[in-house]
Symmetry: C2
Subunit: 415 residues, 2 copies
Amino acid sequence: MRYSKSFIKTSHQAPKDAETASHRLLARGGFIYPLGAGFYSLLPMGFRVYQKIYDIITEELNRIGVEDMIMPVVHPARVWKETKRFFEVGPELWKIKNRFKEDFVLAMTHEEVITDAAKPIISSYKDLPKLVGHIQTKVRDEARARGGLLRTKEFTMQDAYSFDRDEEALDKSYQKFIKAYNNIFERVGIETIMIESDVGAMGGLGANEFMMIAKNGEDKIVVCKKCWHAVNADVLGISRESNAIRKGTKCPKCRSTNLTFKRGIEVGNIFKLGTKYSIPQKLFYTDERNKEHPVIMGSYGIGLERLLASVVEASHDKDGIIWPTSIAPYRVYLLGIDKKSAADKTYQQLTKAGVEVFYDDRDATAGEKFADADLLGIPYRATVSAKTKGKIELKKRGSKQVKLVTTSELARRIK
Amino acid sequence: MRYSKSFIKTSHQAPKDAETASHRLLARGGFIYPLGAGFYSLLPMGFRVYQKIYDIITEELNRIGVEDMIMPVVHPARVWKETKRFFEVGPELWKIKNRFKEDFVLAMTHEEVITDAAKPIISSYKDLPKLVGHIQTKVRDEARARGGLLRTKEFTMQDAYSFDRDEEALDKSYQKFIKAYNNIFERVGIETIMIESDVGAMGGLGANEFMMIAKNGEDKIVVCKKCWHAVNADVLGISRESNAIRKGTKCPKCRSTNLTFKRGIEVGNIFKLGTKYSIPQKLFYTDERNKEHPVIMGSYGIGLERLLASVVEASHDKDGIIWPTSIAPYRVYLLGIDKKSAADKTYQQLTKAGVEVFYDDRDATAGEKFADADLLGIPYRATVSAKTKGKIELKKRGSKQVKLVTTSELARRIK
């Protein structure tokens, strides 16, 4: 893609309300555009990263047997009334009415909807287990959005659901997702730890969160210095705002009182829902003796935009983003200095070789082009100029080393 | 995928309100699930078809230079007030309020949002032309949904936008989209004609629709028998309900009065928006002499679920759907009769060979399996049974001819 044809404009100026590095850099780099507080468009540069994260998630979930589907964003209130969440969830559940004054909600999660859809499908033990999921828009009427893509009012979530006959089988499904989630986070280039967490508005038998440790994380994690068990502070009744662990608080695992705080960004959470939805929504199966039981469910979620922003939090420097190769929007940032026709030719050659290349063909100074290359964080920068005598200056983002290569070497090296 | 693991259950019974073949067959085949009137989930079998349509659309639009992005479903009313559409569009524009009583709308279309996003990006003639688009949820507060996926309250739309410096350049962008749209419809397997249409709530300089001719189509097309020019009846002031062309009505092209009706399903529409959005939203560019002009826009849309249903309308028989190979959910429907281990082995071989195979491994009669194979409309049916002595019975959906082939021939033939 040529810069001049792309729907992008970078900026020196970060938004006034930008408190986090990811917010500043994604806005400055033209990855995102704020339509309003908490509502973002992913511009083409951001969408390319999103799409790569989407593909990695889909691949890892398909590998454990999850089938993909799609459920609506607007839900008739009926299903939310069946589980009583219509009345119980706080104001972040966005309730709306249609022209006939009928109640609807905007999808905060999809447990009710998937349980409803499962009723004609699951009726016998022979129909179990099932794993199914989708990647779809979620909407929350948050009082305050913050941190750019880290906490928005509308975002995309991968949410998957497991249906099993008993808790032992649920455990197996749960373990499959833990493995898939660990693979996903590793592949997008962040380090996470899995911690014990509160079930919250989802209800059920237990829950875990995947946390990326980050200085400016919103979540407080209590880590036991003896057994290294980690739990979300809210499990121990410690509020997000609190800065102290109450004296006598014990590690839920080894009972040690030698505890410490860490901060994290929650990038995934998984829930053993048990019968929280299947009983009120009447999702039952009959066993080998024709006896009826409620289906045992699990729910598994990753917020895509938050994950994207978390990668930026984990991987940037003062000049811009440093994308891991697996999710970089392009493989190489190509620019020409005083050698327009040579750069054009290199662009055509790289495109032909199937390399994802972003070609800065603007009428701009070398300094401006170098600055944008650093800001956008594309893994390689290739410079075509008169002084390199037919060769190309190749530099890896984040490194200072520069190598002179021929065009054919270039395509091979960065592939 | 094994039938027993898949999130599917077929049914002999069509929904009571199903008036169209696509509604009946998609519901019976477990492609879709109605959450409420006009709100459908695409179950895994339906999502696979949707995904193939999605990929074809993306490929054809990328080919003409469209960049992909994603915009929100919930819009702060600000942008819709700027163009006055907040006040002018009828009740199908779903207006909602958040917890602070601020106005929002659910995305009916995205002209306002893309124009807003373009403002920091387009300021000079050097920034033009640009082509950008997304595939995203649309919501309409329709009084009455009908026809299954043909007219819903929530659906997915591919909508793209062009930004040009003048009407001549817009014409060029418009022609590119006409070509891409014709390719898309051809590749998904339907025949369409492009007709003249009314600009409606979108406004602008002119519009065209892509129509699939269908007996039970909702749209009335007036065709001139002399020059074969076709226009939507509403362009001539003829209402959808009317069954007669007023005497003296003339073809807008050749002025002949020899006109006739056809019915169609609208599967795509394109609009020369002109300055309808750029002027009120202040999207201007400066030319070579530093003079300011409004950007000239175009808008281009295809509803994915409606397109999917239209294919079913065009391609089915009394037993079920007949998917065109390009968008079929699987390539082959494999089933075993009294030879479970042989069928299992064939399933593994085909999967290994990279064939998309749906394997009916249920404990069901041959009749039940054949009926589902026909209903689901997968292009090939492969039957493993004792009587064929190690060979496989291969049948193409919609044909009566049966061939005996070896497993290795099978993979080669259906690929």
